[in-house]
Symmetry: C2
Subunit: 225 residues, 2 copies
Amino acid sequence: MTDEVKVIEIKKSIFEENEKDADALRAELKQKGVFLLNLMSSPGSGKTTTLIRTIGLLKDRLRMAVMEADIDSDVDARKIKEATGIPSVQLHTGGMCHLDAEMTRQGLDHVALDGLDLVILENVGNLVCPAEFDTGSVKNAMILSVPEGHDKPLKYPLMFSICDVVVINKMDVLPYFDFDLEKCREYVHMRNPKAQVIPICAKTGEGVELFARWLEDEVKQWKQQ
Amino acid sequence: MTDEVKVIEIKKSIFEENEKDADALRAELKQKGVFLLNLMSSPGSGKTTTLIRTIGLLKDRLRMAVMEADIDSDVDARKIKEATGIPSVQLHTGGMCHLDAEMTRQGLDHVALDGLDLVILENVGNLVCPAEFDTGSVKNAMILSVPEGHDKPLKYPLMFSICDVVVINKMDVLPYFDFDLEKCREYVHMRNPKAQVIPICAKTGEGVELFARWLEDEVKQWKQQ
């Protein structure tokens, strides 16, 4: 296996109405039976490591592909491909701080969707802008890592209000940080009472099966709808 | 002392030419003898704690004020005021992901500039958008924390290329993370060969005097120009 990955240069959307476009993309993907998950977080909170663990648990149960959005570099798509063997493309946003539905579609054009159950989009590392743009995903998930602090739902309200799942990563370093998991849960639920909070450690894999199970259940339920 | 802080609702800029506006703001501040530092980082990398430590070291040597930009909440401005006693205003960006020169000016309108040497602007927690907008600052500084990983200069090139100083925070947790300080230094210098890299631990205060000294020297040199 070569370590080369497809790198797609994403162009700025020319469409003004992102919500309409996102709904159209969602409908198309529904027809194809492909579930799109939009995964967001701050820079360095462990999106790629969490994905590698999650894919490891699910790749024999779901047919998957990954799109890695980044301003530059193809480090993440390469890592995913090497570690999991599943198809992975890198989306270069050329400095753009988020992906919208049209940009997501540009990426999906380079993914062989036939027969896939799930595409995971790793959005740009940013707690602000990605929250404002519907990518056409069925569900939104985010990762907050312990070192970032439990007060983040107070400071980035929109991000926490649009996510169905908040994964709390780097639980192994909890003893070294002033991170209050119960307070965090409370703040997350202030923003979105229905959000699930799942503590994990992507480095060791602890807890990742809960996130994987949530994702598998969501994909299966959605397929039956 | 009351713990109330001024909260300013920042409006979107109507000016198209941010660079011109930033240069004009810089010239005005130069006339008043007020040095503006623009401090950036990811969410949760320790901007506020680093500021409190830095102000503690400098407040008898420089007359200072702080502007804290946040999407919501006044947690940070309140913390700074309580911990240091220096004037601190909170800028609410109403969901906006960065500050430009005009938005910075809106904040400065609420700061008593007469007799001040230094205003520190704590920008929105975001490694992408704030890098694209000149705030009118004399210098840009950023904080990268150990848990975020040493690869961030590869992934957020513009941010690292525009910063004069990169503070590496949370050095106390280095043993628990795969963070290579030498690699980080190398990647920072790929983006900006002149950037200073200053490892600190804001929690204990270790190393902060190096950042404070850099800042004091910059302010003094600039005043003599």
